[in-house]
Structure formats: structure tokens, C-alpha cells
Symmetry: C2
Subunit: 223 residues, 2 copies
């Protein structure tokens, strides 16, 4: 049985949950806050990060969301998410990296720091200058998603792929942390509503972070 070490607002754990959900692979969640992790978790993952997908009986510990998704892709043929020619797969992986690294670095990471860590761990108030800058960068990234959606059926091309789920994972965390101003981003908004209403997304919309309530619209698939 797979156990997924995660915490509710980790976007990379969300990406893995969406892969597992799309492929209909069973698993149980184990909540782990990296800032509270003990020695035994560091033995499992020396990098001290989530997600980790662990099968205790088989002694398999998979680490790093992209390594996990590639593994699921190689071992489960249901609902392939890295599809097409080598070139098409390179385009999917480019976009996954764009969302995992640039979107996360510009927006999700700073927001998690300001709105989650400062509140729950550091007991500080958020820096409004940082918040404003992330909102500015969010609009740039949403512009790019608009452009992709206006030019392609899905983010990476004609098929739904891991790129869509990587992007939606980041966006769902940003949405939880305060909502997104979708005005001027109708294309991106339409695309996100479609992803959000997939069955694989439902568990994410139910997960709550203790001490940090989600805004009302968050779990509404029509919002």
C-alpha cells in the first residue's frame, strides 16, 4: 500500500495526488510538516522534503514529485500523462518545470512563506510588499496560461497532460491562500474550472490546513 507523505498546501504533493487520482491508484495520506520532521523522516528522505511516496512492505521510497510522476507513468499504463512523441513529452516536461520552478519560485513559494509559515510557524505578519509583488507576477503567469489556452486545446498541446496538473496544483494553493483575481484572465479561468471539476481534484478541495481556513469560494467548482 502506498503512503503519501504530504501537507495540504504543498503544491508538489498535490501534483502527485492528481497523478495517483487520474491513474486510479490507491494510497493513504500521511500528514508531515517538514518544519516539524523528526529523524525517522530524514532517514526516509535525506532532503527532508515532501512529497515522499512510500511502500513500507516493499521498502520502496519514491522522492521528488517529478521522479514520482515519471515512475507512475512507467509502471501504470492507465491515463498516460506524459504522452506523444519525444518532442511532445519534452514540451510537457518544459511546462511542468516552468510551473514547479518559476511559478512556485515567483508566487506559490513566497505566498506559502508569507501567509502560511509566518502565521503557523514564525508567528509574524506577512510583508505586504512581498504580497503585492507576487500578485504582479501572478498576472504575468496567468497571461502566459491565457496565451497557451488560446492557442492549444490543453496547456502542452492537443492532450490533457501532466503540464495541466502541475499548473493547477500551484494555482489551487494560491487560490486557497487568498483567492485569485481572474478578471482579464477568462481563458485561464475557464481552463482551471475544467481541471478543478475532475474527480481527481475533489480530494484536494476537501483538504484543510489546520489554523488556516480556506476562503469560501475555494471548494466551489463553479467559482
Amino acid at each position: 500500500m502506498w503512503h503519501l507523505y504530504h501537507f495540504p498546501l504543498c503544491p508538489f504533493s498535490r501534483k502527485v495526488q492528481l497523478s495517483l487520482g487520474e491513474k486510479k491508484i490507491g494510497y493513504e495520506l500521511v500528514t508531515l510538516y517538514p518544519w516539524d520532521a523528526d529523524e525517522s523522516f530524514h532517514r526516509l528522505n535525506p532532503a527532508g522534503r515532501v512529497p515522499v511516496l512510500y511502500d513500507a512492505a516493499k521498502k520502496v521510497a519514491l522522492i521528488d514529485s517529478q521522479a514520482i510522476c515519471e515512475y507512475l507513468e512507467e509502471t501504470v499504463s492507465d491515463r498516460p500523462l506524459l504522452i506523444g512523441s519525444a518532442r511532445a513529452r519534452a514540451e510537457i516536461r518544459r511546462l511542468v518545470a516552468l510551473f514547479d520552478e518559476n511559478f512556485y519560485g515567483d508566487i506559490t513559494g513566497p505566498l506559502l512563506h508569507e501567509k502560511m509559515r509566518k502565521r503557523l510557524v514564525l508567528r509574524q505578519s506577512p510583508d505586504s510588499r512581498v504580497l503585492r509583488e507576487t500578485m504582479r507576477l501572478l498576472h504575468e503567469h496567468l497571461d502566459y496560461i491565457d496565451w497557451l489556452v488560446d492557442n492549444r486545446r490543453w496547456l502542452a498541446g492537443a492532450q490533457l497532460s501532466l503540464a495541466d496538473f502541475a499548473a493547477a496544483s500551484q494555482i489551487s494553493v494560491v487560490d486557497y491562500l487568498g483567492g485569485i483575481d481572474w478578471s482579464d484572465h477568462e481563458s485561464a479561468h475557464g481552463w482551471y474550472r475544467v481541471i478543478k471539476s475532475r474527480p481527481s481534484f475533489a480530494p484536494l478541495l476537501r483538504q484543510k490546513m489546520d489554523g488556516l481556513p480556506a476562503p469560501k469560494h475555494y471548494a466551489d467548482v463553479n467559482a
Copy 2:
């Protein structure tokens, strides 16, 4: 013909060069400093980063070092670098991510900022506190490499893999930027000397960054 957009001290471009070299794929280098990039480069890569592997005739632009290495793996069967079972491949990818993200985030990234960008772009002097902290973290990472080398033939297991080249790419940049104190890290040092003496590594040892000379021992494969 492939063109690789890179700059000499970008560790991710080095990882791609090593893959290309191991697989004996021809290419030409194009030097690109992201901080000086113009509109035409941003059209090629909206993320504004190197490496980009570009074939103008075929209109293929591959972006993100890992997406590039996966593409080379899928299209060129010579010298596979992501080898073995799905589980073995997951272990290779875990380590690649560890070096690309954690080692880079702890050490190579801060060092490039302090010793390269501050000198060549910002005209500031390095912050000695940051330099000391990176050296401390370097020893922790070298301890982990020692442990891997003491327990396995190569970093990810019985076979030479992309994990070795990802690690050596980061280390070679740190070495260029000031040398590494290998005392207490004999195992890691022995492993690095072996990688460094491979033919695929020779071009990296010749590349120089304008205005930033390498230390004498840098290109010495016995050092």
C-alpha cells in the same frame, strides 16, 4: 544541427553538455548571459533561462536541463544514462533533483551570486557570511556523496548514470569558483576525479568565464 545556449558556469548547461558528450551527439555552443538576454531569447524561452537546446532548421527548442536530458535519452540509444528498472530510474531522478535543486540552492546558486554576478554584473563584493555558510553546507553535501560512494559503485547504484553527471556539474562550478577543500572527503574526491577524467568532461575544463579566471588546479584531472 543543435545549438546549446549556455554560459560557462551554468551547472544545468554543464549537465546537458555531459549528456551530449557521453552520447556523442554533435552541437555548437552559443554563449548567452540570461541577465543580458534580449527579446529574441525570451521568444525562444519565455522563462528567460539557459540551457536551451535549439535546432533552427527543425524548429525544435528544448528547454529545462532535465526535459532535455530525458529527450536525449528517449531519442538516442547510445550510452543510456537513465537505466534499469522503474525503481532504479526513480533513484537516479531523485538524486538528479537533489543536486539540481538542493545542492544548487544551498551552494552553487549562492556562490554564483556572490562570486560571479556580484563581480561581473553588480560590481559588489561578496558577503563573507554567505560564503562561510555555503562552505558549511558543502561539507554536508560532500558527506552524503561520501556515503553514497562508500555504499554503491556509482552515486545511484551499480551503473554510471545521470546522477553522477548532475552532481559533477554542480561540483565543477563550485571548484571553478574557488576550489573545494576535499580533506575528510576522500571517497567523494576519488569519485569526482574519475568523472572529471572522462572525455565528455574535457570541454567543460576548457571553458572560461570572461573576467573570472579559474584557479590553477581547476583543469587538472589529477587534482
